[in-house]
Amino acid sequence: MVTGVPRLYDAIVIGTGAGGGMAIKTLCEAGLKVCAINAGRRLDPNKDFRHHRKPWDMKFRGFGDPAKRAESYGYMDNEWVEGVWEHEIPFTTAPGTQWMWPRCFAVGGKTNFWGRSSARMGDIDFRAGSLSGAGVDWPLEYREIAPFYSRVERMIGVASTVQNRPSNPDGEYLPAFNFRCLDHILQQGGLKAGIPYLPDRLAQLTRSLDGSPPCHFCGACTTGCDTGSFFSTPWRFLPRAEATGNLDLRTNALAKNVLVDENGLASGVAYVDRNTGQEVEVRARVVVVAASCLESARIMLNSKSRTWPEGIANSSGQLGRNLCDHLYGQSAEGYLPQLLGQPSFPDNVGDAQIAWMPRWQNLENPHEEKFANGYSVYPWGGCQEYPWDAMSIEGFGSSFKREVKRRYPTPVSFSIQAPSLPSPTNYLDLDPEVKDKYGIPVARLHFQWDDNVLQMFEHSKQACAELLQAAGAVNEGAAKDPNMPGWSLHETGTCRMGNDPKHFVTNRFGQTHDVNNLYVCDASVFPSSTDKTTTISILAFTLRTCEHMLDNFRNGVHRRA
């Protein structure tokens, strides 16, 4: 802990999730004095992670209080982690926009409960704009970021296999999770249907790493981990930062705006102490915004000054724009008759997530399909904690009860992960009227799925139907509509990086073009969405951003406090 709190810090980091956590650790270990501002409390794994409890130990059996159903964020906002998802700070949607926005303001943010899938992006992603003609390219090549991915993989531990796929570069992996019966059956179907079915890349320890024990395969990852066996910043990064003595972590500190000096440079951050309702100002040489894609844009848009009347570092007018999201939706569901009546098997040990079907479309020829770019699919299935498919079995009585048991090991389903394209009509701004209880304008979302991503969804339904047929499975159909936008938690683009200050918010290092001591370390800097998840890329890009910043401290661009 910092003793004799300094008046001026070297750096303030807003947020403690993947980007914030990596920034805090990297900067503290380099000797900088860091003030971290986090909007919520610290979680106590012994109290807040209730995931080894059985449903009959829970008041509502894990189904949740029906009275809170309307405000729940769904599967992840449940009785096992009550009170960890944010419900106090509202947001609004423009007419015609639907948006679901689960926010975890607790220390560590969404890394406490994330999905752990951790594929590298590659040049097929960074050059998607010129390859497909839709969107923009990223201002770097894969070979520049590859060493950072390697370092991150060694730091956090990712279990997978070398796969030699053209769409997703291989990395440095711990032993993969073993395939279950259903994986082998579906993989055989995939071989016949021409669809890759491979071990996912999971940031989950299959052997111990740097003092963290290996996974105990309880399967409750979405409700937190009490042994730190999958990557999260409170388990793996923040203790290291605190051990340096360079970190002052302020909790329940809701960032309001970035403060600027007379030259328009960042001079600190104003936050509201949620315990007292008082506004507090902290000062630093450098400010890192890492509050997640939408929150970072909201804070920067709300940072209005004489120099920055439209929000800090927004001379391009692109702040809050280019919002992309992953379309998620059920591409197919069914069951595997091969496994009817077979003994139950612990299929859920990776919280259902063991395999993936990495992008197989538009690889050789970017215009092979009717849609631009490509998507991935995550398969799920087998014996779950609750037999969710039992309601689809007709009838009642002893024959029904027996059929539920016979079907228990058999269900499978597929969820698409498909990137939307940047659009001038998909963006975030500040609601001109609605403010939260602290008087801060709330975020207003404007978002519609584009035709391209909806075509991917339809394509995936056909592909998964073919795979199921080839696997000898019974196909019970797909969802008509995708999940609500926002559901994936993979938003990108609101502070996109690029070389031209007229069109991009940050440069290729995540440093804002307009304000050279303001950096952005989350998925908001990603210029486009891909078929991959965002967390491992946030970690790799943040590490690169922070080392660039440390260079700037060394070469005099920034002065130490």
């Binding site: 080894h52 009275a67 003994p343 609750y386 009585g397 228990y408």
Partner: protein, 205 residues
């Protein structure tokens, strides 16, 4: 050591259960259902005190309990009655304003049907007659026009019964539910020489 960690967690979990159970007065059977042997000859032994429903009248509650055991009967293995499913349903409906009206109306509808066909309320007709009242609500091939409300009620009743049963320890035993156990290694398919799984042992049930 990881093994010791797991033991410690098991102990903490057991302490947690006792603490939680004591917070929910009003439960007799289901909060403790897991603590009782499901194979007990006398299911009532799991219910040392009389239960008073929070939402349903005692007469409605008797119909809920009967319906739950028709859906998940006690046969070679324990069913909804032993798992205290009716108490769970009463508890959930008491906390769910959207369910209250349709559940109550559905129970009345069922009695009315029973009265029309067998001149007696649902609880007083034979099991075969009770089953014959439910079948047109449960099997799509036997659906009848004009019974949409009855089918909707049966769907609700069935869903609540499944929720109550398969989230109980008895329900977990029924499925041999492997969730929330700890493993030293990622469990692997035991049939790697048969990837298409064409030559498995015959189904167990």
């Amino acid at each position: 050591m990881a093994g010791q960690d797991i033991k410690r967690r098991e102990v903490l979990r057991a302490i947690g259960i006792a603490a939680i159970a004591s917070h929910f007065p009003g439960f007799v059977k289901w909060a403790y259902a897991g603590a009782h042997e499901p194979a007990s000859d006398d299911p009532a032994a799991a219910s040392p005190q009389a239960f008073s429903p929070q939402f349903f009248s005692s007469e409605e509650f008797a119909r809920i309990e009967r319906l739950s055991e028709l859906i998940i009967p006690s046969d070679e293995t324990p069913g909804a009655r032993e798992a205290g499913v009716a108490e769970f349903i009463d508890f959930m409906v008491a906390h769910d304003t959207e369910q209250q009206k349709p559940m109550r109306a559905g129970l009345a509808w069922l009695d009315e049907q029973s009265g029309r066909r067998f001149a007696r309320p649902f609880l007083e007709v034979s099991e075969a007659q009770q089953v014959s009242l439910l079948e047109p609500l449960a099997y799509s091939a036997r659906y009848r026009a004009g019974e949409e409300a009855g089918r909707e009620f049966f769907r609700r009743m069935k869903e609540l019964t499944l929720m109550g049963f398969y989230s109980s320890e008895i329900g977990w035993r029924e499925l041999d539910n492997p969730a929330s156990r700890f493993y030293a290694k990622s469990p692997a398919c035991p049939h790697v020489n048969d990837p298409a799984h064409q030559h498995l042992p015959p189904p167990r049930w």
